[in-house]
């Protein structure tokens, strides 16, 4: 897994609430047996027409979209199916971080497993972030801090919380698998219980 420590860059805002995994990656792209190239299909039904051509004027088709490492999305992002294709598609599209006031359980877990940082932030701060489309912010996983620059130039820092083990693994690029695999003795002991 790729290491994640800190990212600075412009945010892309999708303010809609309840963006589900069928929007992030429609089901017809799930027949592939590998995640390679799946980023090309991210939000396909929002930004591409029936012929697969980009719909002009859609925010996700602007040049800046692929250059924004941080996605700020409406409340309850990633609800719906357990398809891991969703965080893979966002990574493939160019995002490294997704921020919302709430992120669905399975999506959050999947994101942490594949190296996309899910950040849940307080509603008031979230509301501020939704206004910052295109502006540069910093997400620091080491400090668990989101830094934005106010209009008067002063910096504002907002702390966020994340599962400590997920943070540990993302900061070091560790695969959670190794932790599980090293528990072999405990697993065997469990299986031998009467």
């Amino acid at each position: 897994m790729r290491v994640f420590t800190k990212t600075t860059g412009p945010v892309l805002v999708l303010e809609q609430e309840n963006i589900d995994t069928d929007q992030i990656i429609p089901a017809r792209f799930l027949t592939a047996t590998s995640f390679d190239g799946i980023g090309e299909h991210a939000f396909a039904d929002w930004r591409l027409d029936a012929a697969g051509e980009p719909i002009s004027g859609h925010k996700l088709n602007e040049a800046r979209a692929r250059l924004s490492p941080i996605l700020v999305a409406g409340h309850n992002f990633g609800c719906g199916s357990s398809r891991e294709h969703a965080p893979h598609a966002l990574l493939g599209f160019g995002f490294r971080v997704v921020i919302s006031s709430q992120i669905a359980d399975i999506f959050k877990n999947n994101s942490q497993n594949v190296g996309l940082l899910p950040v849940e932030i307080e509603p008031q701060q979230h509301a501020r972030l939704l206004q910052l489309d295109g502006e540069g912010i910093t997400v620091d996983l080491e400090q668990c801090m989101v830094t934005v620059r106010a209009t008067d130039g002063a910096e504002q820092c907002w702390a966020f919380t994340i599962d400590p083990f997920a943070r540990h693994c993302l900061l070091r690029g560790l695969d959670r698998f190794d932790f599980l695999y090293q528990a072999e003795d405990a697993i065997q002991a469990y299986e031998e219980r009467p």
Binding site: D20, R28, L30, T31, R83, E84, I106
Partner: protein, 477 residues
């Protein structure tokens, strides 16, 4: 005195391989791992990459359901897969199951079915188990008093390799439904009412236990419908304590011991029930008598109304966007909406009782001329049972298509889909934008309601039916 525990606490504690610490999640043992073609290929790749075997192939059970065609093989004997890639995905699962020694219910199996339909039918799903699958509707199996939830593909690989998962213990919620459901109100309606009440993220971070007299009186298939839809309120899992209904349903199933040994098992199951004094992080109580036959009007399962009620007026931009997508105006009567497609099937409502319910509405009636209706049984054994009962003839005589088992229009990745702009009344679980095909508009409802909509050709309740049929000059059963 021992600490009072909930059903969830009991299951969690019994499966802890290594407890949670300040810095690491718990390691939880998984009793049953269900596998299908879509979310497993990269999981098996992990095994090959690391050079390891499936730890407990006998605790792993596979089926074909998502990408599979529901039309029979053509004259050339070939199954009509939507794409070569879909066919390759099925072949990949077949190869993986052979290589790693996993029981696969392939085309030739009399038990093949949608993963959440097949598990319980075989008795592979049992009370007290932890069950996972790379599919969010794994919550279905909680109907048996199992702790069952969906996982991603990375975790599919972890479970194949170690039979374990890393988990922080979720919070607990009890949803009590007391009273009695009214005439013509089903478990699907109950679930849609609960989701509307909690909101589609109200369950996030929770495992829900359903309790109360209205839940107790549901049969197993209805309990599965209820638990299936738990994920649509954002909860990890939904569960119902095992009781006599559970025991009777599972008796004699293929993967369970018979007679004496079975009775011994059932004694253990009955002890799983939540202790009287157990405490939940959150408790919600609703009255079944307040629930009516319900249908969704928006683009998430929480956006629903009683069928006779008008479409609510949107109060924010997201709701406005949803109504625009659906082609509804706030305040419009639901019954004005013309229906183009009706789908009966899925792991939510593709079981025999669902088909019986739809058939009882369609018996002696016809699907409206402009409506395309698809009936897709949840498994081979349901298909056989339905054909034995002659249900398929009721459907085909009414003008519906009778298909082979699979997920079909629930996820629309096998070619069964709804055209852009068309309105489908569907017994499945998600009405997200494009879920049943790009631009498709989905209204979720019970099998009874879906059948009534098929007959009238617009949104309707079963109770609206006799009058409507007489008007249309149709024979009434």
């Amino acid at each position: 005195m021992p600490v009072p525990e909930s059903l969830f606490d009991k299951l969690w504690n019994a499966h802890v391989v290594q407890p949670q610490s300040k810095t690491t999640p718990a390691i939880i043992y998984i009793d049953l791992h269900l596998v299908h073609e879509v979310t497993s290929p990269q999981g098996f790749d992990l095994l090959r990459e690391k050079g390891i075997a499936v730890r407990r192939p006998e605790r792993t059970l596979a089926t074909l359901d998502h990408s599979t065609p529901t039309l029979p093989p053509g004259a050339d004997g070939q199954r009509p897969y939507i794409t070569e890639q879909a066919q390759r995905q099925v072949q990949t699962l077949r190869g993986n199951c052979r290589e790693f020694g996993i029981e696969l219910h392939d085309w030739d199996s009399p038990a093949r079915g949608i993963v959440h339909v097949m598990g319980p039918e075989l008795g592979a799903t049992q009370p007290g188990m932890t069950i996972v699958c790379g599919d969010s509707h794994t919550s279905t199996h909680g109907a048996f008093g199992a702790l069952a939830f969906g996982i991603g593909t990375t975790e599919v690989g972890y479970v194949l390799a170690t039979q374990c998962l890393l988990q922080n213990k979720p919070r607990s919620m009890r949803v009590n439904i007391n009273g009695r459901l009214g005439e013509g109100v089903t478990a699907k309606d109950m679930a849609l009412n609960i989701i509307r009440h909690l909101g589609m993220n109200g369950g996030t971070g929770y495992v829900i236990e359903y309790a109360g007299s209205a839940v107790r009186s549901l049969d197993m298939e209805s309990r599965m419908t209820l638990c299936n839809l738990t994920i649509e309120a954002g909860a990890r899992a939904g569960m119902i304590a095992p009781d006599e209904t559970t025991i009777e349903y599972l008796r004699g199933r293929a993967k369970l011991p018979q007679s004496e040994a079975y009775e011994q098992l059932t004694e253990k199951w009955l002890q799983l029930a939540t202790d009287e004094a157990a405490v939940f992080d959150c408790e919600v109580t609703l009255d079944a008598a307040d629930m009516q036959a319900t249908i969704t009007y928006g683009t998430d399962p929480g956006m629903s109304v009683a069928i006779g009620d008008p479409v609510p007026v949107p109060v924010n931009a997201s709701q406005e966007k949803a109504l625009r997508y659906m082609g509804f105006d706030g305040g419009q009567a639901m019954s004005e909406r013309q229906v183009d497609v009706v789908f009966i099937g899925s792991c939510t409502n593709g079981r025999i009782s669902d088909l019986q319910a739809a058939a009882s509405v369609l018996r002696g009636r016809r699907v409206a001329d402009h409506v395309r209706m698809l009936v897709v049984p949840g498994s081979e054994s349901i298909r056989k049972q339905a054909e034995k009962e002659g249900l398929h003839e009721i459907f085909t005589r009414a003008g519906a298509e009778w298909r082979l088992p699979g997920c079909s229009m629930c996820i629309a990745m096998n070619g069964d889909l709804v055209a852009p702009g068309m309105t489908a009344v569907s017994t499945s679980n998600r009405n997200f934008e494009g879920r049943q095909g790009a631009g498709a508009r989905t209204l979720l409802a019970s099998p009874e309601t879906a059948a009534a909509c098929a007959v009238t050709g617009h949104v309707a309740r079963v109770s609206d039916l006799s009058a409507a049929c007489l008007e249309a000059g149709q024979e009434v059963a």
